[in-house]
């Protein structure tokens, strides 16, 4: 009875909205991972590290500019760009030499970069926790159907669909996006129509890294920025990409929704075990559809 009472209580809706805003960040990070997985075929274990770097860089930018709304918005632009630059160096400097090798080699390389980047973060920012306060502009709550929803969560709820639309436009309406889609299915043939696939891969990796950095910057005011924040995220992002369908951007959206909502609703239904619900949902999805919910490019 308790479960049902909790589930239909007035708090449910605001819990759903909070869950959805968390979904936004999961979606932004996992869509970047899915993009890289689909086009370059790299399961990028270092993706979580890029997200962590995004959060730390956002902190630095905000410190440097002395806080406030402007500093925060600047961080949302600068952090993803710096992470994208890191991605560019990784792709051109290392990954691009291994595309013709076995997949296992690439997987190992990304794993080693997850460790190296983790240590670099420790060297640059130290082992302490960092935190970013939500700018005054976003403090307080909005009233949605008579229920309070923090302004920052509302902001995330607006950013998420914007990113989805932006990605959709890039992938479906630009020549670069179309080439990337073709390369996801048959990279060799893209080369055989005169396109330097290497640069398409670099572009995709940079875009994916940008999204990881953006996710990190967006989550900065909501969590303690710390070493190790990459580990939990990388697990979640991988699971989301797997249940959504490898390389499918809408799959990443669907997977994030399932993950974020089962998490926030799970806490309502059974608070002690709330954290287990998303994983149970993953198991359920994989039992029914082992290859993911939507069409995979693999």
């Amino acid at each position: 009875m308790d479960f049902a009472a909790n589930l239909f209580s007035t708090g449910t809706l605001s819990q759903i909205l909070v869950g959805l805003s968390r979904t936004t960040i999961l979606f932004i990070v996992s869509s970047g991972m899915s993009l890289i997985l689909g086009v370059l075929r790299i399961p990028n274990v270092a993706h979580g590290s890029l997200y962590m770097i995004g959060a730390f860089v956002a902190w630095t930018v905000i410190q440097f500019l002395g806080g406030g709304l402007f500093a925060f918005l600047a961080a949302l632009v600068v952090a993803p760009l710096i992470v994208a630059a890191v991605g560019f160096v990784l792709e051109r400097g290392f990954f691009s030499y291994l595309y013709e090798r076995e997949h296992l080699m690439l997987l190992l390389l990304t794993f080693s970069f997850a460790l190296i980047l983790g240590d670099l973060v420790k060297i640059v920012w130290g082992p302490e926790y960092r935190s970013v306060t939500v700018p005054a502009f976003f403090q307080g709550s909005a009233e949605i159907f008579g229920l309070p929803l923090p302004w920052y969560n509302l902001f995330l709820l607006i950013v998420g669909p914007c990113i989805a639309v932006f990605l959709w436009l890039v992938i479906n309406k630009t020549n670069l996006g179309k080439i990337a889609r073709a390369a996801a299915v048959d990279g060799e043939m893209v080369g055989a129509v005169g396109i330097n696939v290497g640069w398409i891969f670099a572009f995709t990796f940079v875009l994916g890294s940008f999204l990881a950095g953006l996710g990190g910057a967006l989550i900065a005011p909501m969590v303690n920025i710390s070493l190790g924040m990459d580990h939990s995220l990388i697990m979640e992002a991988f699971l989301i990409v797997i249940i959504g369908g490898l390389g499918n951007m809408w799959g990443a959206l669907l997977g994030s929704l399932i993950f974020g909502l089962t998490q926030s609703l799970g806490i309502l239904v059974w608070p002690q075990f709330g954290i287990a619900f998303p994983y149970l949902a993953v198991v359920a999805v994989l039992v029914v559809r082992p290859r993911g919910l939507l069409r995979s490019t693999w």
Binding site: N175, K178, R181, A182, D186, M189, G191, A192, G194
Partner: protein, 229 residues
């Protein structure tokens, strides 16, 4: 314009091409004839840069292009059309043509659609749902977008209905008329004789015979030994 000199190509450990030499002059259609597994596709892929020869050189317009990557060769004017077409099935017909690197402004979508009017009518369709004939036309049209000087057509009519084969052959002859040189691989001698000026016959990875179309037509012994008739 194309001069392949004594190339040896391997697939991993297995030696597939032995000492293959062939040449092609500007504006010619040259056939590369042989049975299944004789080495036709391997030869085409080696010339197109998708496989790297272990020995030998490939000259194009007098320049050594051995070991260049496919995209570099396309920009140089050599474009390979695979026997299994490999069109981008997720993209529309129009986008399949649109994403190609264009070496010159001579070829554009309009010109490809003029050559294959059937493609114009299905321009917005996803390429994955096309019929075999439409895919074959799209594969050739896609290659044309790059403005090739030399087309490598790997069994372009394989698996198509006779009526469609005829139509495609007409288009190939029109390409020759437009000054494009073509290296055409084919299993079937009869159909290729309508197109080719000269031919090489390949068997077990070695060139066994070369001659003009007419010489080949009259040489029953060679046909029996190396070809499917």
């Amino acid at each position: 314009m194309l001069d392949v000199r004594k190339i040896d190509t391997y697939y991993g450990q297995s030696h597939v091409l032995f000492d293959v030499s062939l040449s092609l002059r500007q504006g010619e259609i040259v056939g590369l004839l042989g049975r299944n597994g004789a080495g036709k596709t391997t030869t085409m892929k080696t010339v197109g840069g998708m496989l790297r020869p272990k020995k030998g050189t490939i000259l194009f317009e007098g320049e050594d292009v051995t070991g260049r990557k496919p995209f570099q060769l396309v920009r140089r004017g050599i474009c390979y059309v695979p026997d299994d077409r490999r069109i981008f099935s997720d993209l529309t017909v129009d986008d399949n043509l649109g994403i190609v690197y264009r070496r010159t402004r001579e070829w554009d979508r309009e010109r490809v659609y003029d050559l294959f009017p059937a493609l114009r009518e299905i321009a917005d369709r996803r390429a994955g749902v096309l019929s075999g004939g439409e895919k074959a036309m799209l594969a050739v049209g896609r290659a044309l977008m790059s403005g090739p000087k030399l087309l490598l057509l790997d069994e372009p009519t394989e698996g198509l209905a006779p009526l469609i084969v005829r139509a495609l052959e007409e288009q190939i002859l029109r390409l020759k008329g437009a000054g494009i040189s073509i290296l055409l691989s084919e299993q079937n001698l009869k159909s290729s004789l309508r197109l080719i000026d000269r031919a090489y016959i390949i068997d077990n990875g070695r060139i066994r015979y070369q001659g003009t179309a007419k010489e080949l037509e009259n040489n029953d012994e060679i046909q029996r030994m190396h070809l499917m008739i």
